[in-house]
């Protein structure tokens, strides 16, 4: 889904030479328009998420019911309130419920609250979680997310980055040796990427954790965590191996196939033939005439990798009990904790928007056909 957020070079008009002062002005204008349009998109996206995360106010009803129940129970268990009459007790419960609902802001209409949510979300004032807490005991959504971010970055960073570079280099190698046995093997195996990483994760767990007992079943470090930093790092690595391999398997063959085909298509262009006729070495051809024009697409893919990295992999993390953002979302949904869900979505939306924005500039650097400010991409 995410790829559409990225600008497509073909939609960009070619640049014309123009005075530099004028172009700075145009650049400014372009940046402002782009930022505004992205901000509007983020706002609407976040508001939709707020509506969905609260199921149009339905979650409030669940929360109200839970508040009433817990207050009723605590009053009926309280020995000092034993000799109250039914009416008095009912009144007391009503008062406490109203107080608690007021504390959580549930006494206001949902529409009003949804806009307040939106305002706070957009200013990254993510508020307090309703139920969840970070391991250090903080109820602030920001702290909860910050605590979960390093594990996700570690897992997704290791797996996505290694996948990206490994596929790229092997694809280059295969495009050089196109038609070889290895090449055919990779093509034949590319449909295996239809299965997601968690699926291979289960097989890997079965083989290496259950049957061979070489590697742990899940989690991030041994329990209790080792004291010495080296032992800690080793334990971390041991826990990283299986999820990273699962990620690699699920992305490898299709990734290599995709890049390889891409490189081949570009290496069949006429100018490559010409370069070959001129007697340039294949290494030079590759660098100047194949890699250069494919760079924008490679960068797009890299950006997509980075975005996926923030997102985490909800199910892979769940299968491997990895304490990251993905698992956080899953847990938050299970606890009806809408501030946490909205918080992660907001951060994700911002990161996505920033990436889209930055990509425009990176494109301009690597692709001479694209110049920032020349009317603006139509994406």
């Amino acid at each position: 889904m995410t790829e559409a957020a990225l600008p497509v070079p073909s939609g960009v008009e070619t640049s014309k030479t123009r005075p530099s002062r004028n172009s700075t002005l145009k650049l400014m204008r372009y940046v402002v328009i782009k930022l505004i349009s992205l901000f509007i998109a983020v706002t609407i996206g976040v508001y939709l998420t707020i509506l969905i995360a609260n199921m149009g106010g339905y979650v409030d009803e669940i929360l109200k019911g839970q508040i009433r129940e817990s207050i009723s129970v605590s009053i009926s268990m309280d020995p000092t309130k034993k000799n109250l009459t039914m009416a008095e007790r009912g009144q007391l419960i009503d008062e406490l419920v109203a107080l608690e609902e007021h504390r959580l802001g549930l006494d206001q209409p949902f529409l009003l609250r949804s806009f307040r949510f939106l305002g706070r979300a957009l200013t990254l004032n993510l508020g307090r979680a309703q139920r969840m807490a970070s391991d250090s005991g903080s109820k602030l959504v920001r702290n909860i997310i910050l605590e979960r971010l390093p594990p996700t970055l570690l897992l997704m960073g290791t797996s996505s980055m290694s996948l990206f570079f490994i596929t790229l280099f092997i694809a280059l190698f295969l495009s050089r040796n196109y038609g070889s046995l290895l090449d055919k093997l990779v093509i034949a195996l590319s449909p295996t990427s239809a299965a997601p990483a968690w699926f291979y994760g289960i097989f890997l767990l079965l083989l290496f954790a259950a049957v061979l007992a070489w590697l742990p079943f899940g989690g991030m470090v041994d329990a209790p965590p080792p004291e010495a930093p080296i032992d800690y790092a080793l334990s971390l690595v041991r826990h990283l191996i299986l999820p990273v391999i699962a990620w690699l398997i699920s992305g490898f063959f299709a990734g290599v196939y995709g890049y390889r085909t891409f490189f081949l298509i570009f290496s069949m262009e006429d100018y490559v033939e010409l370069a070959r006729a001129k007697g340039l070495t294949s290494r030079e051809i590759e660098r100047r005439y194949v890699l250069r024009p494919t760079l924008p697409n490679i960068i797009t893919n890299f950006a997509l990798t980075v975005i996926g990295l923030w997102n985490g992999a909800t199910i892979l993390e769940t299968v491997f009990n990895w304490p990251g953002i993905g698992r956080l979302i899953y847990q938050a949904v299970g606890l009806y904790d809408s501030p946490v869900i909205i918080g992660t979505t907001v951060i994700n939306a911002y990161l996505l928007a920033i990436t889209v924005f930055l990509l425009d500039f990176i494109y301009a650097l690597v692709d001479p056909r694209v110049r920032v400010g020349s009317g603006g991409p139509r994406s």
Binding site: A41, G45, M55, P191, V211, M268, T314
Partner: protein
């Protein structure tokens, strides 16, 4: 249309298309077989019915055919019911004294397996008015030993679990009954004594019209075609019925998203201007929405029915990334001379969109559609793995989830994970292989490389 036929013929040149086709045909056959042999309501009953439906099955055992690969043959479940004439149970009633009758039932069975059963249970149903029958049970081994089991005063429905009878356990010196009763007494390590076993149930009834029926079950260690799960359910039903569900879910989701997305892209390109701009803005917003968290929320708050989830998936993908690639193709087609010709003779916009623009994109649409199916099949499984599977229907994803949450991997119950996983893999591979070949047939640019 002829071009389409030619393309399909060309498909036969691709081994991956043939492989994928065979897998898809196999799955379709499995789906049709499931729907025809087990009607929907019957499948639900078998999967959701309750203890009386699967009570006779053993708990978490691998399929029976695994015995073929084993040296030590694992036992299958033995069920002997005094109400079933086929089980050849002798039942005699003799009057002992005034107002007292003796009912003797003997259950004979051969036990020629190499391993001990999982569990032993006798279910009794007594018919009486005031005083229930007094039941004592005896176990006769092939070498002629008679072991006294427990005694119970039967209620209307009574369950005698061998392993929970403390006195029997003491008499067997603490060895579990399902082992001690079948073991050869002369061997150091417990070894099965093969041969004809007999269970005698001796009931004294105190009323003229009182009666006792009994059912003896020696739960085996293998079961049926696919084994059983933690609730003793036969996995065959879920594996079979998972097929039509996975196929229809994948196909409908892929069809819904790609066809509607394509139509939207076509409309946007044709009308251009504000419409196009609006569609692109919506796409941009749609991309910022987190799909999986929203689906998790829908599953938690609204409904876990896979048809509701399907609706949401289509809704969330209407303005998805595919619009961009469809749009690029449509922009090219829009400029072709035949469109101009159509416009010049006064064809209406809708006619041009649906009769001239859309058919031209089928080469892009078909591979896109087939390649999309595995993603949705796995998405359903992913949601099930998060505990958001359909509450009624048995699906492959739910089987994996059940297995995982019941520690099948820790307890070496691999069949439980592997069976649905292999079917999922087959479905994924079949469509991906077919899509791969289609892609090459319809995209000549790919064919050269």
């Amino acid at each position: 249309m002829n071009a389409l036929k030619r393309s399909l013929k060309e498909l036969a040149n691709y081994p991956s298309a043939i492989g994928g086709g065979i897998i898809i045909l196999f799955l379709v056959f499995l789906a049709v077989y499931a729907i025809v042999t087990i009607p929907y309501s019957e499948a639900i009953r078998l999967w959701r019915g309750g203890e009386e439906i699967w009570g006779d099955n053993p708990r978490i055992v691998p399929p029976a055919w695994t015995n073929f690969f084993r040296r030590a043959k694992q036992p299958e479940t033995i069920v002997l019911d005094s109400r079933d004439p086929a089980d050849l149970i002798s039942k005699t009633v003799t009057e002992i004294s005034e107002g007292m009758w003796d009912v003797v039932m003997t259950f004979d069975f051969d036990y020629n397996y190499d391993a001990f059963p999982q569990d032993l249970i006798v279910f009794m149903n007594a018919a009486f008015v005031e005083k229930g029958p007094f039941v004592s049970m005896f176990w006769i081994t092939p070498d002629g030993r008679e072991i006294r089991l427990g005694e119970v005063t039967a209620k209307r429905s009574e369950t005698y679990r061998f392993a929970q009878d403390e006195r029997l356990l003491r008499r067997l010196k603490g060895v579990d009954p399902q082992i001690a009763l079948f073991a050869d007494p002369d061997k150091e390590t417990p070894t099965v004594l093969k041969g004809k076993y007999q269970l005698r149930i001796d009931a004294v009834i105190f009323e003229e019209n009182a009666d006792l029926e009994a059912k003896f079950i020696a739960y085996g260690k293998v079961h049926g075609l696919a084994g059983t799960d933690h609730r003793r359910r036969d996995l065959t039903i879920a594996l079979l019925w998972g097929t039509p569900i996975a196929l229809s879910f994948g196909l409908l989701a892929a069809l819904g998203t790609s066809v509607i997305t394509m139509a939207i892209a076509a409309i946007g390109v044709w009308f251009g201007g504000v419409v196009d701009e609006l569609i692109q803005r919506i796409t941009q917003i749609n991309i910022l929405l987190p799909t999986l968290p929203i689906l998790i929320m829908v599953g938690t708050f609204q409904s876990r029915s896979i048809w509701v989830i399907l609706g949401w998936i289509i809704l969330l993908n209407l303005f998805g990334g595919a619009i961009i690639s469809f749009r690029a193709v449509f922009l090219q087609i829009k400029e072709s001379p035949y469109i101009e010709a159509a416009r010049s003779y006064g064809a209406s916009s809708w006619r041009i969109i649906f009769l001239y623009l859309v058919p031209r994109i089928i080469p892009v649409l078909i591979p896109n559609l087939v390649n999309g199916i595995p993603a949705f099949v796995f998405l359903e499984a992913s949601l099930a793995l998060l505990g958001l599977g359909d509450p009624v229907l048995p699906t492959w994803g739910k089987l994996i989830d059940d297995a995982r949450s019941n520690g099948a991997l820790y307890n070496a119950q691999y069949f439980w994970v592997m069976e649905p996983a292999i079917l999922l893999m087959l479905a994924g591979l079949g469509f991906a292989m077919m899509g791969f070949a289609l892609d090459r047939v319809f995209n000549p640019r790919l064919r050269e490389v």
